[in-house]
């Protein structure tokens, strides 16, 4: 086939041989399983307070210690993964849908449409994302949907840029020309031929974007604009731990470590995907 994408089986094989990618994938999987099974896995309730158990260091009873209200840090960290992953996933899907749609149309059609769309993307790229998110979430309330929506609002532009450049290079290829010659309309060529071949790039972006959105969500939680107490999120657990830093290091340390491991996992997995599915990189490294 002319200008075809690499076959998925060989890509999968390369991914499985990519040690860091596999490691990242495992970390991600562990976090997703932990979040899904939170009610079963968490040894204690995330909200039950016990003043007698305040600020206990890690021990056999409380593996990661207890916080200022005597709540189990491990259980809260396990429950916290839900908020981060839910918002991360929701925001990423939104951002991908918008970014892919807008980017592919811009790259495929080119001309004035391309210029207009990419200038609009420039506006979003030039406003410090956190400022915009902060304003919207603070004024409209920190619900799951609001937070995910606004994170998507500031992350679609880079996705659009990447998808655009991929479509720009794909549209001149022989198989796209052939599809046109056979009488296929724009929508069909874009959907069936261009986007399918841009898929590897989009998949890689998904993984990297998930890491990014989780980081943004945790930052918002840290500023007090994430999940509201007593529901734990990794970001608000780190804030709680900040005031006990001198006497109880574990409260801020472990939830932060969870964010770090999850984001690192998504980044490693994304790198693995890129190395395995990007034909240019593959031929360079082999």
């Amino acid at each position: 086939m002319i200008g075809s994408a690499p076959s998925p089986t060989s890509g999968l094989g390369r991914l499985l041989r990519h040690r860091r990618g596999v490691l990242g994938g495992l970390a991600v999987m562990a976090m997703v399983v932990t979040g899904s099974l939170a009610p079963t896995l968490a040894p204690y309730s995330y909200s039950t307070q016990s003043l007698l158990q305040r600020l206990q260091p890690p021990s056999a009873a409380h593996w990661l210690g207890t916080d200022g209200f005597g709540r189990d840090v491990l259980s809260r960290t396990i429950w916290g993964s839900r908020v981060s992953l839910e918002i991360g996933l929701f925001a990423t899907v939104l951002s991908l849908v918008v970014g892919t749609l807008v980017g592919s149309v811009a790259g495929y059609l080119g001309g004035a449409v391309d210029t207009t769309i990419m200038r609009a993307a420039d506006v979003f790229l030039s406003v410090p994302a956190l400022f915009l998110i902060l304003i919207v979430v603070a004024l409209f309330g920190a619900s799951l949907i609001n937070t995910a929506l606004v994170i998507a609002l500031v992350t679609w532009a880079p996705v659009a840029r990447i998808v655009r450049s991929e479509c720009l290079s794909l549209r001149g290829r022989d198989f796209v020309q052939a599809a046109h010659a056979l009488g296929a309309g724009h929508a069909r060529v874009l959907g069936r031929h261009v986007l399918v071949n841009a898929l590897p790039v989009i998949v890689v972006q998904t993984s990297l974007l998930l890491g990014q959105t989780i980081l943004i969500e945790s930052g918002l939680s840290y500023l007090g604009l994430g999940a509201q107490p007593p529901l734990p999120s990794w970001g608000n657990m780190v804030v709680d731990g900040r005031q006990f830093l001198a006497s109880a290091w574990w409260i801020a340390t472990f939830p932060g470590l969870a964010i770090f491991v999850t984001v690192l996992g998504f980044n490693l997995f994304g790198d693995g995907l890129r190395d395995a599915f990007d034909p240019a990189l593959y031929s360079e490294s082999s």
């Binding site: 030039s126 410090p128 400022f131 304003i135 004024l139 970001g235 290091w249 964010i259 690192l264």
Partner: protein, 321 residues
């Protein structure tokens, strides 16, 4: 590019930058006025009657039509008047100027630190590809993009302030020693490190890949074939060309740098623009929110413009005409 071409391009971009800035102010204005609730709840506090709310809104000028409000704000802003804080009644411009210094110090310090570490490390990683340096470099860049900055800051406080008592955990300086340079430098170390470490990752990744690309070019092979030594080829021929795209990445990183400053300033109780913005958002202090954001957006837009212009001055092959 000829000087005339450059000026024409600069003017075109400047026009676009002004349009973008106007766009940003309209979007911000719309977002704030569409949001439910208003500043009266924060200003009056507790229970209050609809009449009180209406009186407060009238005093703040919020009862006027939206377009009139925006026109009033924009007209005053053009004359350099950004209005007064709803909460303290201080001029917004004064509030911003007071906090600009600490934020500039923090962001410039972080940027310099990031470049100073990332560029040499990126060069080493590219030149000694596959060596220990390459591994260290990729670990640094991977960790850098995976750390939540606020947590990194707290961990640094845990180690250097709470653990080893080497550096102060927060503030700009000790109380009453604001003019003491040593005290200010000691206070600046941890926040600068926090913000810089996060920024370092992309710079280092970019330096490495850009240099690797250049090292594969024909003219480098020619230089080597002429018998030039490795250091000379790398410094004279490769690095100069490889650093051009790095300049762009540094310019494009400004929005993340400023965004990162919001969190870093919050963690270290650093009295800068970021904390001003966070406070204003929670208190619905519209004039302060507008002022800070317009100022930040203007800085970012101008910096991007300068980066683009620097790009065509550094690289004569680029033509935007």
């Amino acid at each position: 590019m000829s000087a005339r071409g450059l000026i024409a391009y600069a003017l075109k971009r400047l026009g676009f930058a002004v349009l973008m800035l106007v766009g940003v102010t309209i979007i911000l204005f719309a977002i704030m006025r569409v949001a439910p609730g208003g500043p009266e709840a924060v200003l009056v506090g507790g229970e209050f009657s609809p009449e009180t709310a209406a009186r407060v809104r009238q005093r703040l000028g919020l009862d006027r039509p939206l377009v009139a409000q925006y026109a009033g704000w924009a007209g005053a802003a053009l004359r350099g008047d950004l209005g007064r804080s709803f909460k303290t009644n201080d001029p917004v411009a004064t509030l911003i100027v007071d906090r600009l210094g600490p934020t500039l110090q923090l962001t410039a310090g972080a940027l310099l630190f990031a470049i100073a570490v990332a560029v040499p490390l990126g060069v080493l990683a590219a030149v000694r590809r596959g060596s220990v340096w390459d591994t260290v470099g990729s670990a640094v860049s991977l960790f850098g993009v995976s750390f939540p900055s606020f947590w990194l800051g707290i961990m640094l406080i845990l180690l250097f302030s709470e653990g080893w008592h080497l550096l102060p955990p927060s503030g700009l300086s000790e109380y009453g020693r604001e003019g003491d340079v040593t005290s200010r430098v000691r206070h600046a170390v941890l926040p600068t490190l926090t913000l810089g470490l996060i920024q370092m990752a992309s710079f280092m990744r970019f330096t490495r890949s850009s240099l690797l690309e250049v090292l594969g070019q024909d003219y480098i092979r020619t230089a080597r074939a002429k018998g030039l030594g490795s250091p000379r080829v790398i410094w004279r021929h490769a690095l100069r060309n490889a650093l051009i795209p790095v300049v762009t990445v540094v310019g494009l990183s400004l929005p993340t740098l400023v965004g990162g400053a919001v969190l870093t300033e919050t963690v270290f109780a650093w009295p800068g623009i970021g904390r001003l913005a966070v406070g204003a958002v929670f208190e619905r202090d519209y004039p302060v929110i507008m002022g800070v954001n317009v100022m930040v957006a203007a800085v970012v837009i101008v910096a991007n413009l300068l980066t683009d212009l620097a790009y065509c001055v550094i690289d004569p092959r680029i033509s935007y005409s």
